[in-house]
Amino acid sequence: MDYTTIFPLMRAELTLTALLVLVFLYDLIAGRRGHHWFSAVTCGLLVVQVLVNLLPGAEGELFGGMFRTTAMSGVVKSILTIGALIVCLQADQWLQREDTHHKQGEFYILTLSTLLGMYFMIDAGHFLMFFIGLELASVPMACLVAFDKYKHHSAEAGAKYILCALFSSGLMLFGVSFLYGTTGTLYFDDMPARLSGSPLEILSMVFFFSGLGFKISLVPFHLWTADAYQGAPTTVTSYLSVVSKAAAAFALFTTLVKVFSPMVEQWQTLLWVVTVLSITVANLFALRQQDLKRFMAFSSISQAGYIMLAVIGGSALGMTSLVFYVLVYMAANLAVFGVLSTVEQHTGGRVSLEDYNGFYRTNPKLAVMMMLALFSLAGIPPFAGFFSKFFVFTAAFQSGFYLLVFIALLNTVISLYYYLLIVKAMFITPSDTPIATFRTDSYTRLSLALCMAGVLLLGLVSAVYDGINAFSFGL
């Protein structure tokens, strides 16, 4: 084995592993004072990680094709890492609490582990490798969901999450074993030539898809989402809703395009149905939510449906719009969760829609940021969300899914309505007991500033889109 080829190709994974070890060591040796700086240290290390990811690197494969990396996966990994970085910034406030203070090391280590899992998932060239990555991303995630383990909600959410995750993994593994049975290989490269599109293969493809559909929380594999989002600590929820979802969506795109390319017709039908279901059903549920975390769960399911619009064509344009969408979605969603989280911390857990009545009067800056982020999520120009929606619609439209685009457009009207419900609560509805005025800590502020920069600039600075477009590939 030639190590000189391993290092450049696996540099992201290797650095992240080293970071994990460093964080672990820091947790051991840093005293109580050192714990105060934990967030800063982790974030600093993540910045290093982003820089390493962004280095122009080689494309290629290792270990006989088990591991393969492309320029695009480098971009996606950077985006995921930036997401994790923002989440870590937002986590600090929560982790300084009395009951979580002593175990903040665990939080960072678990988060980085899931990130590492996603890296491997994205760069897998073999179904087993893929599965290991997926599990590495899922199992520590369950620990994160149950992080406030003495709180009933969190523990329940963790249990539900791990049970559902196990079930979906089982089903996925089932599908993969069928694939192995019919084709005799688990390598991504060898698979397309041997796929025939037989009913068994279709079944196995759907099972495989359901495993990823679980991670992306697509209807009908989404039912865990609302409970887990609501029960999990808000910071974990934001991580779950953005980073984890983005990694799975990208992995889905590459596997569908690379591995299941002979079965385009089948998976396009599958995606068509799932997309319509996800967007519509999630919108219907979101309309009736009073708990904002639950609300954001359904919002994220419907956003996942929009992401599938980028996947369905399988084109290079689709990949660009997918990655761009994920980036923009990350900025907006993390901004919303940042505000939710900081409000929750300062008010002792007020997260319902009614609590936000009159929010603008007491905390105008946070309210405005939340509003901008919601506008972006709803896709109102000139915020980034408009452009990202526009691109995914274009991608689907160019691939000929006119009806699908039409249904999605109708749904954006509904989504606009429920996003504006929050804006209305914050700005218009008066309240006798509004959330008191408070100052956010500097970590949260930094994270919100980053998100706002994304919301306002990503759509207008065309270099971002062009930069992503340079690396994309399709069917």
Binding site: L203, P220, A226, L287
Partner: protein, 630 residues
Amino acid sequence: MEYTILILLLPFVSFLFLGLAGMKLRPVVAGAIGTAVLAVVAVLSYTTAWEYFSAGRDAAGVFPTLIPWNTVWLPISGDLHIDLGILLDPISVMMLVVISTVSLMVHIYSFGYMKGERGFQRYYAFLSLFTMSMMGLVVATNIFQMYLFWELVGVSSYLLIGFYYTKPEAIAASKKAFIVTRFADLGFLIGILVYGYYAGTFTFTPAAATLAAAGVMIPLALGLMFIGGAGKSAMFPLHIWLPDAMEGPTPVSALIHAATMVVAGVYLVARMFPLFIGYAPEVLHWTAYIGAFTALYAAVVACVQSDIKRVLAFSTISQIGFMIVALGVCTSNDPHTGGLGYMASMFHLFTHAMFKALLFLGAGAIIHAVHSNEMSTMGGLRKYMPLTHITFLIACLAIAGIWPFSGFFSKDEILAACFSFSPVMGWVMTAIAGLRAFYMLRLYYGSFWGRENRELHAEHTPHEAPFTMTVPLLILAAVTCVAGFIPFGQFVSSDGLAYTIHIDGSVATLSLCVAVAAIALATWMYAREKQPVADRLAERFSGLHRAAYHRFYIDEVYQFITHRVIFACISTPIAWFDRHVVDGFLNLLASATNGAAYLIREMQSGSVQRYCIWFLGGALGLTILILIIC
């Protein structure tokens, strides 16, 4: 000459600064900043003009067209792209000088006139925006950039007319101005698109071959563009917004509705002149007829108005009609054989901007003194405001066309051009020029001589304006006295070659005689305390008088068309459709959504076993679905 970009950037920065931070500043400071920036812009404009004209003519004997700064803003396809840039040629440089001069005068004047007004800072911010837009319009390198700034001019004029936004009339006037000009701009935009499609470019110099191939489409495009120009330049029947726009502050009227924005249409025709002459001479002549009719109509209406600013507004419409006529009567590129009108029109634009700004600023001083626009509150003001009186008289004589004031020279060139086009046109325009001298002197006598409103003046003695207001008056009066002697043809002419202006003896004599006769008549009728002739005439022709006073009921016609025809027959059905069909569909969507949301709530039960069943059932169901469909 890259610094010309600053001419656009500086006012824009000033606008942003005053608009965002203005309210935090003291009014005087904000005004001083705006004025200082404009002074710099004026200096830059003069430098540009000096450098441009002193650089001399090229080998062919024309001033070269320079593009010191350009950027491709919106590539559309291959050759077709929208640029933003700066184009310097004789007329754009001339316009830079005119705009910056008048704008600077208005900035200084407003210190006195707007003193103590609420929103003083906002006023200066808008002035900066307007100046920037107007400058951008004249230096546009292509028709699309011109259109962008054209609309910006419309917006800033809207903001300035509606400056007193607590006054319902001002709001109505600003809306009227905006809607009427926007309506006209629709024609402009369609014209631009047609032009862009058939000429294959948005620049002013398309390839001759494509133009020839486009056939009738180029005249069509130019005609549509002229509709936009007619809207901004208040040509009949799109003139209705300009008299109402006098609701804005008077310095604004001087800047926008006398010197700059309203000549945008003239400038547009001048800018497209080579195309008009080469490919659409009939369209050009039609503009002349429209201009002539507008000039006549406005002159008649101006004779009977009692509001001093209204008189000036109609006089402006009439003067712009003159400029359009001058362009329209051109039959060739050569100023010696039928192309004189181009130079005459630009010359008149230049001189008119100065003396009409002077008139408006003078009117502002009068209004400042008596606190009213009505001529009945004036009269005999010469005793109280000597400086305003003198400068106003100079402007009136200039507009009447008396030697040696500037109006004489430019009017003479226009009439000469008209006579060479057709004698009828020449005589008609001469008659209108006589009317013009008459109503201007009527205005002059009405405010400074004539019947003095002694009761009012005893109660509140009119006083001379402060020096911030009189200084601009004096400067503009001085310009008005000497501008006629500028050898304008050396700088601007239709073929670009140097053209020596010579006074046409017979035309000059004729027009002078008519002007003097009209002045004498006005003096006889209005100079004295008792005005029996005027009163008797008004009684005798009371029908005509009333019709003219009501501007021949054009506004009422519009009212009828918009309310009875458009609103009733088009808007109401559309509103019904929107309310019942479009909204109805959305309401149905909303209630269906809510109902569906209620129905499926059981799915999210909270039980993990159920979730797994959905999960597995979903996966199997999807598989079966695929097997059926594919």
